[in-house]
């Protein structure tokens, strides 16, 4: 029985273990293609290889934040109200912040090598930085305390507002004059990219997506265990008071 309880308290399953192995294999494939197989760019030289982490990082961050918003909407809708949706929203936001961080760091390095500067207050960079700190704020709001449902309600409202920033970030390069180049693939019907580069970019998106799903499954289960721990703690306190009061 102890073994069964212990088994229930882990976040891994045969599916996630299989997914983890496929993800690691994908990462190895991406590194080999990104660093050694794809050609250098005629203008940017070897620095173009940063694209294979930078672009998937940004796309997956958008996806993660959209999943956060959708899960939040599912929680707020009475028919589907469940703390599971709230935990998916929280887990997805955490992973989104991680991917956005990867995109910002790689973008800054890429900018230094191509533009000649690590950072400039350009429309795309500024809106991305704003999106990043917004979701760090979202994660802070989730941890402000209160009951699980209080946490879920306030963070769901914030998630539905925060997701509205994504179109602003994506279209910032078209709304304002921007140092950042316009979309190379997404929303661009006239893709001008070497075939192997394009393939590796899509490989990067697939690998980052697998990574996202793998982390999301584990993290939302870990959040469930954290909530259970909180509830158990309260149960223990109640049990102590019952013992004290002589209530069986």
């Amino acid at each position: 029985m102890t073994t069964r309880v212990a088994r229930d308290r882990v976040t891994g399953t045969p599916f996630t273990r299989g997914l983890g192995i496929v993800t690691i294999a994908g990462i190895v494939w991406l590194v080999i293609f990104g660093l050694f197989v794809t050609p250098a760019d005629v203008n940017q030289g070897e620095t173009v290889r940063i694209m294979y982490a930078h672009v998937p990082g940004a796309w997956l961050a958008y996806l993660a934040f959209i999943v956060t918003a959708l899960s939040s909407a599912m929680y707020l809708w009475r028919r589907t109200r469940s703390l599971t949706w709230d935990r998916i929203a929280g887990a997805s936001a955490e992973i989104g912040v991680l991917f956005m961080g990867i995109s910002l760091v790689t973008g800054s390095l890429w900018g230094r090598l191509t533009w000649g500067t690590f950072w400039t207050w350009d429309a795309r960079l500024t809106t991305t930085a704003f999106l990043f700190v917004t979701y760090i704020g979202y994660l802070a709001v989730r941890n402000l305390g209160g009951t699980h449902h209080q946490r879920a309600r306030r963070s769901a409202v914030l998630a539905l507002l925060a997701v509205l920033e994504i179109p602003l970030v994506h279209f910032s390069v078209e709304i304002w004059n921007s140092l950042h180049q316009e979309a190379s693939v997404a929303g661009n019907t006239d893709v001008t990219m070497d075939g192997l580069m394009l393939f590796t970019l899509f490989l990067g998106v697939i690998v980052f997506t697998l990574m996202y799903v793998w982390m999301l499954l584990h993290r939302q289960r870990a959040l469930t265990l954290e909530d259970m721990l909180d509830d158990t703690g309260l149960d223990r306190a109640l049990a102590a008071r019952r013992t004290e009061a002589g209530v069986s």
Binding site: P39, A40, D41, V42, N43, Q44, G45, T47, V48, M51, L83, R112, L113, T114, W115, G116, T117, T120, W121, A123, T126, A129, F130, V133, T134, I136, G137, L139, A140, V141, R142, N143, L144, G145, T147, H148, H149, W176, N177, L179, Q181, E182, A183, S184, N188, T192, M193, D194, L196, M197, D227, D231, L234, L238, R241, R242, E244, A245, V247
Partner: protein
Amino acid sequence: MVVNDDSLGAPSGDAGLDLSPRDVAPSRSRRGQRKWVPIVVLGVVIASAGVIVTQFLTSAIDYYCNVDEIGAKDGCETGRRLRVQGTVDRGSVVDDGTVTAFSITFNDVSLNVRYEGDPGGIFKECIPVVVHGTLQGETFSGDRIEVKHSNEYKADNPDRVENELDSPEGTGCSAPA
């Protein structure tokens, strides 16, 4: 006291149970310390958001103009600090070790640029750049150069035959007159 969180599921038989908070010995538990972390993080986030917006609006004071818009478009007056966009003309770059001089073109209008230092990045002929600075006479004196790159990615093939079609449209990437 009524426990109304539906996730707790407090038994109804607990009526009369003393659930009032009590003073307990100060705890230095990890969870107790963590209570302040989100508040501090939230403060930092709000301050950061303020800095980001302020910096963006401050930098937006430098108007972003194409070469052909200088003196022709509102905000692109010659007496003010500008960010000017154009493509570096072929054969125009002269670097004497301390000053880099070159000309940029946009919509067939050219502008001479003077910049102290190495522009950095992938600066070269026939590449779009944004120069921050002021117009002094006929020359734009830049104090910051940012190199733009297009959304086109082509393999660096040594057998590639360069032709004029590779040059950005509207700039010609022509040699200065």
